[in-house]
């Protein structure tokens, strides 16, 4: 018999800005389901995760995706994702990177009304000479919330690790919010760990400049948002896939603004 699931509350660090009430509505049978990805030595693995409405319907179903990723010696794992539906849409990744391995992550959250969309990552650099790079962009409006909680643990023997994370939030309306929580636990002394986070609004000067050239406000906004989100997919070499993710993201923007 399986044990009863104890749902997290906002007192749990990894759920601090989440909407734990929205968990009550989900199929709890899937709460503890983890997808395991094992990237074998020297291999390259890439996948995309999309949580978005199907067609014109708006989905409020809570969606939780949990991934456990092992990046073996000299392997590369690249994950790119868009979260654009669900009252709560959340992707969690627990990643272990072995020696010489690289983990690349580009994520985008979008949402309005009272939705919460978030990426929560935990990267364990237990081995030396490994690298990771995470770029997350959040665009929110209405009372929407976008979160990126990124924890990086660098163990004592994991010298020469290079771990980066970069978050930017764009708030299209008053009332929307984004939260970024970088959490670095570093026990090795010869490592590079960089994190950055900024929050802003659409550049009014750019919007006026674009209008003065004949672009209607919606078109100008779309171009600016596309430029903003583009950073998250820079590392995605497959241009078609990159366009597909961008279309999903911008499609959401069209629908709810």
């Amino acid at each position: 018999m399986s044990e009863a699931i104890i749902l997290p509350t906002r007192k749990d660090e990894a759920w601090r800005y989440s909407n734990t009430d929205a968990l009550a509505g989900m199929d709890l049978g899937t709460f503890d389901q983890w997808r395991d990805i094992d990237v074998a030595e020297g291999e390259i693995f890439r996948d995309t995760i999309v949580i978005a409405d199907e067609g014109d319907a708006v989905s409020d179903a809570t969606e939780l995706r949990r991934l456990r990723i092992n990046v073996r010696k000299n392997a590369t794992c690249e994950i790119f994702g868009v979260i654009a539906s669900g009252r709560l849409g959340r992707v969690e990744m627990v990643v272990l990177v072995e020696e010489g391995g690289h983990f690349e992550f580009g994520g985008v959250t979008l949402g309005g009304r009272d939705t919460t969309r978030e990426f929560v990552t935990r990267i364990a650099h237990d081995h030396p000479n490994a690298t990771s790079n995470q770029v997350v962009r959040g665009v929110h409006w209405g009372q929407g919330t976008g979160n990126f909680l990124g924890r990086i643990d660098v163990a004592r023997d994991a010298q020469k690790v290079d771990a980066k994370q970069d978050f930017k939030g764009l708030l299209l309306e008053k009332g929307a919010s984004v939260n970024s929580v970088p959490q670095l636990e570093i026990y090795a002394d010869d490592v590079k760990c960089a994190h950055g986070a900024t929050v802003g609004q659409l550049d009014e000067q750019a919007r006026y400049y674009m209008a003065a050239r004949g672009l209607p406000p919606e078109t100008a906004r779309k171009l600016l948002v596309r430029a903003f989100l583009g950073d998250a997919f820079v590392a995605l070499e497959d241009e078609e896939e990159s366009e597909r993710l961008m279309d999903v993201a911008l499609g959401k923007l069209d629908k709810h603004l």
């Binding site: 750019a206 006026y208 674009m210 209008a211 003065a212 004949g214 209607p216 171009l223 583009g230 950073d231």
Partner: protein, 250 residues
């Protein structure tokens, strides 16, 4: 083409334009000169519909329509081009993408067919060549990393691509060295010196007017036009200064 009547405008409650009247007919180049703070840039922004610039009186008619009633993008589609004194940088958006979207948005508003990618690039290349701007620059992000002179030349390439009826050019000559000044001047002539087009050149100095010969020169002071003459007036301003020429007008 452009009729400005008794225009009053303010920013943050401060009155800047005080009854400005001016007519620009098709085929004419008008220069507006004036000391700092006379309201030159305010006139440009009011015509361009920039948020924050409030019209408190008067009227502006453009090609028979009420210009002040239009949104900024509608003014552009109607054929108004505003050349910025400080062109804005737009990171992440390429010039080609920006201008193609802008041109096609204007064409759509005028119920014209959009240009294909190939047609657009051919058109853009011709305009870039006219302003001696490397086509590679147009593939880069809008104004990002451009020098002051490159921004102004890019601005004129934009004008060439969008092909407006009326260009309001706000201190397009600032930040240009002598060679660039000549290139920009020749570009303005090639693009706008046509019987069906008009130009309003807003400038502090005479030097651009050596290349783009104005049909009329107006002196703007304290938000209104205090003196109008021909090209000779701008030369006198350069030689004698605003104070001397304006004292005579008073």
């Amino acid at each position: 083409m452009l009729e400005i009547k008794d225009l009053h405008a303010e920013i943050d409650g401060k009155q800047i334009l005080n009854g400005l009247s001016l007519n620009v007919n098709a085929g004419e180049v008008h220069a507006i000169m004036g000391p700092n703070g006379a309201g030159k840039s305010t006139l440009a922004y009011v015509l361009g519909g920039r948020p924050g610039y409030e019209v408190t009186g008067g009227s502006v008619t453009f090609a028979g329509e009420d210009l002040l009633d239009m949104d900024p993008h509608e003014r552009a589609a109607a054929g108004l081009f505003l050349g910025f004194q400080y062109p804005v940088e737009i990171p992440g958006v390429s010039n080609v993408q920006f201008l193609r979207e802008a041109l096609n948005a204007q064409r759509q508003a005028r119920e014209e067919e959009p240009l294909s990618g190939g047609e657009f690039l051919k058109h853009a290349k011709e305009q870039a060549a006219l302003l001696k701007l490397d086509m590679e620059m147009l593939k880069r992000q809008v104004n990002v990393g451009f020098s002051g002179g490159e921004k102004k030349r890019a601005e004129m390439v934009q004008m060439g691509i969008l092909d407006p009826k009326l260009a309001v050019l706000d201190e397009t000559d600032s930040g240009l060295d002598i060679d660039a000044l000549k290139t920009v001047g020749n570009g303005i002539n090639a693009i706008m010196r046509k019987p069906d087009k008009g130009v309003l050149l807003i400038t502090h100095y005479q030097r651009l007017l050596d290349y783009v010969k104005p049909d009329f020169v107006h002196i703007l002071s304290q938000g209104r036009i205090v003196k109008t003459g021909d090209a000779e007036l701008s030369q006198r301003l350069e030689a004698e200064g605003y104070d001397a020429v304006m004292a005579e007008a008073a």
